[in-house]
Amino acid sequence: MAAADTGRPLVKAAGDDIVSRGPSRDAGRHTPGKGPGGLRRALSTHWYAWTMVAPVVVVIGVIIGYPLLRGIYLSLTDANERNVERTIGVNTIDATYQYVGLDNYVEAITGSQFLGTLGWTVVWTVACVSITFGLGMGLANMLNRRIAGRGLYRVLLVLPWAVPGFVSVFAWRFLYNTDNGLLNKILAGGGIDAVPWLNDPTWAKFAVISVNVWLGIPFMMVALLGGLQSIPSEMYEAAEMDGATAWQRFRHITLPGLRPVSTTVILLSTIWTFNMFPVIFLLTRGGPGDATQILVTQAYKFSFEISPRDFAQSSTWGVLILVLLLIFAVFYRRVLRKQGEVW
């Protein structure tokens, strides 16, 4: 859609250009009327638009389409490091992996590893999204009022977003260090024993969720703040006149007013958190053991950390992640539509 819209004025401009500069093409430009049909006409009138869109289509095809298809294909084979094609200098070793049908999927779905990891991934996603949304909503409401230093607070709260993700995650890793980390030094000052932040499975889960919440709040807050500002203040005034309490105003004006924004940010945040690779990988590498391993980090482990690298298993998990997220998106959309939301 967007491409066609923006294409229009360009086509006109280009057309004029051609007419004024190159009369010899005139003949070509008049033929479409008698031509075989719509496609050709579309091509001849919109050729400039198509040309402009082509690079994008090609690039998307190459960087998304090809890896996707290749991944799906690999998940149907037994490809690993030892049997894929490789070229070392002048020697080429041919691929010897074979098509194995749906074996990988059957193995993943019936085994305990995938389901176990999925369980924690769901807990992680739900916890992160709900806490981030809750806190983001609270902060947005606070910052929507006229309080002293509002601008400063807003800047400070957006800070986690401004710092590159890996830098802040590494900073957190130092803070969490059991013996030398700042957090435990502060606790020791209060007479509390050192907490094994990243060494105990339960604490590690708590630690990764906290960092992700910290990273996710700015986005939630900014998005919700925008939503809040689009709610007309007359509604609050009218409600106040009718004697509505603060909670009633929040419940019946703010929440419904935020609906279009909040549904979108929850969907986005769910997809991002479900696949939040850097936080888990850089903070715990999925450890201790595999206590904090989510689906993407485990898929990465299959194809980059174990030896021989299991490309087939890794792509199987990748495809399953995609399917799960698609199902979620469709389901979510349907629920919203039932509630009368146009989306």
């Binding site: 401009a13 250009d17 490091e81 894929v84 070392i88 890793r173 499975p201 201790p288 206590a291 030896s307």
Partner: protein, 424 residues
Amino acid sequence: MRRGIAATALVATLALAATACGGDSDGGQTKGKGGELAGEVTWWDTSTVGSEDKVFKKIAEDFKKKHPKVTVKYVNVPFGDAQNKFKNAAQAGTGAPDVIRAEVAWTPDFADLGYLAPLDGTAALKNQDDFLKQAAASTKYKDKTYAVPQVIDSMGVFYNKKMFKAAGVEVPKTIDELKTVSKKIKEKTGKTGMYLRGDDAYWFLSFLYGEGGDLVDAESKTVTVDNAAGVKAMNVVKDLVTSGAAKTDATDGFDNMQKAFKSGEVAMMINGPWAIADTYSGDQFTDKANLGIAPVPAGSAGQGAPQGGHNLAVYAGSKNLDASYAFVEYMSSPEVQAQVTKDLNLLPTRTSVYGQPDVAKNEIVGFFKPVVEKAVERPWIPETGSLFAPLVTEYTKVLTGQTAPEAGVKTTGESYRKLLKGWK
């Protein structure tokens, strides 16, 4: 005007793409006039950053003195990442170094994947009989030589002599003694007895050997990690941590261990020669004599530490093979090995070097030489490098109380049988 911009952009993009493609086509020249070596050799070193790397960088760059037309590009890749990084680069066919410092267990794995150039009959191998048999074993795969041994090592207990004196204890010879010593240290000094790495299963091996176990038995093609000895060894390490005799971490183990030992927070650690240069930089060891090294404590069935070390291997896709062979020969030559021993206390791999007076007088070498001779050799099969990934997950799980020792070794055994098809 619009068109002008589009055309400029197109030209710019094409130009960029063209330069990007042409970026890595240099370094192809192997020989200058008259057969003289020329070009660039990239070496990926994995030595400890901040201490060992400076020495190796200098020695590597000194190669220019022998071959003025060859430039050595020294790159230090952290040991933990190097295996994966090399595999990525070697498989992709771009970005791989000419020479890599490959850990002994990686060598057969890389060779099996076809990433290494066979060295038999090249300039890389000189005076082959001079190499220690143990060191040379890991460089051979399917009757070919794929690497040259650079250093050999094993593990021992590093201890803080001052702290031991303050607590009035002697070096523990068995695991039971280790526990009583740790307890005494805690009582007298308030510090923890030992640091045990919980994020790397290599540190588990000496306990496994101490109980008479091993990961696998390559001769009878049997997975042995999950037998009674394996269970016992897992129980031993778990007990060390839960009883407070040792402390551990599930992340950043090496750094935390070095920091704790160097600052006197713990009195002992199990470590190898690669940590010596870094340990000497700590507050506690400004007087080098304060560092004591002893054999790893014995378990119920005996005493043993793994034999490790590093080899230098040449990437099969190197564009500068001849210079790479010469560089590998240089780095493993008696002169360079003696220099490395002098600067870093690392153990040479050539018999002749041990005879040199400087090396013979070196205390650390004097300690580790007999340890290495007795050290347990792992089977040099391609899968040896793959055995740690499944083990470390379970090892950490046991130490952090997520899995029982029996279940931990059982899961490890299952992964091994999946990996080693047809093994018992």
